[in-house]
Amino acid sequence: MLLEGKNLTFAYDRKKGNILTNVSLRIDSREPAAIVGPSGFGKTTLCKILSGYLRPQAGEVLLDGKPLPKKGCCPVQMVWQNPERAVNPRLRMRATLADGQQIEDRIIRELGIEEDWMNRYPQELSGGELQRFCIARALGRDTKFLIADEISTMLDMITQSQIWNFLLKETKERGIGLIVISHSEALLSRVAGRRLTF
């Protein structure tokens, strides 16, 4: 599948100038891609536009030539930088995970999510444990592209490598396109074939 951004222009506040001006990109699901650039240059903003959280002021996002569907589960899913903010503090993890679209038990098992974590509240889990839930939640039945926005910055090396091993295998098997944002050179050279630089 092909994810395209065409002439994307975006500003949070018009008076303060554009964050993105006429950005175009094409990403093929067969080849994992990385978006790199200095902090504050709008990488996260671009991800939010590609996955439909934000609407660009000009330009469009196309998946196989068609705009992203407005209703239903978005085929482009994003995993956020901060797992603590991406889960509802008042719900048990089982309920949070249920937001995802029919998540297979296999995914939960391979991510190392323990049955006991399911009945806990987010305050009772570590950042790394929460991030596994967020990844699982994004890997629902209809997901075609997965955007990973600095998802492993706060994890130790062993956990990082576990999670990335899983993500590479899973996306390859299911033909899901993978877009990685990271500041870590080691990680980028391992997972991404293509680089898009700001």
Binding site: C73, C74, Q77, W80, L91, D99, Q101, Q123
Partner: protein, 280 residues
Amino acid sequence: MKESGKRFGWNQRQRARLLLVFSVLFLVTVAAAGYFCRDASMVTDFSRKNLAPCFAYPFGTDWMGRNMFYRTLTGLSMSILIGVSAAAVSAVMALILGIAAAALGKRADSVISFLIDMVMGIPHILLLILISYACGKGLKGVIVGVALTHWTSLARLIRGEVLQLKESEYIQIAERLGHSKLQVAAKHMLPHLFPQFVVGLVLMFPHAILHESSVTFLGMGLSSEQPAIGVILSESMRYLIMGEWWLALLPGIMLVLTVVLFDLGGTSLRRLLDPNSVHE
């Protein structure tokens, strides 16, 4: 560190629970007792008039020989019932208007916000007197008056909370995962709003009760045959200079006690519902 923090949290929660149970028990007892001694509180007996508090008449008797203990209980129970109904109506209004302001878009929001600011800008007691007067005084006037004046602060609180929730990442994520606005509101917003709503409701009682007695005291509320606290207090003013201190003091203390207990109950409830203390 962690160990002692845990123990501290547990003790605080236990104390909050105890306070809550105590306040609820006290208020229910007063409300029920007042209901059952309503007839006894109306009995006049001139052979026992103007008695100071004693064993048989803990709150003394008045110039018509009425048992002031019974009268106080009946008055308080009426106040509690009025407070509960007015606060309930008010809290439901606040919930609906607060959610509408945040969920229905900019125009609805500015209309409701304007309404909130306007009602908040007028002193409660003034608005209450006007509404109560317009509704023909009496029980209905007081309830409508209190309900229409007290919803604002809770509505503002709920509106703010919903606006903030709409921006939160987990709610945006849930919407991107294909859940409708209604599903998201029920699953993700309600658990945040419910505690606010319940605590706001309970903390509204003391205001409602005080305002009810104030309008009644000023002669704009319940009629003077009713054994309401406001009526008792305003009548007793005339006898205060003649040295019959108990007519005003003891019912007054009971009123303050009731209000304080409602407040304590509400604060304990808030502590118990706070997620940070729940999962310490």
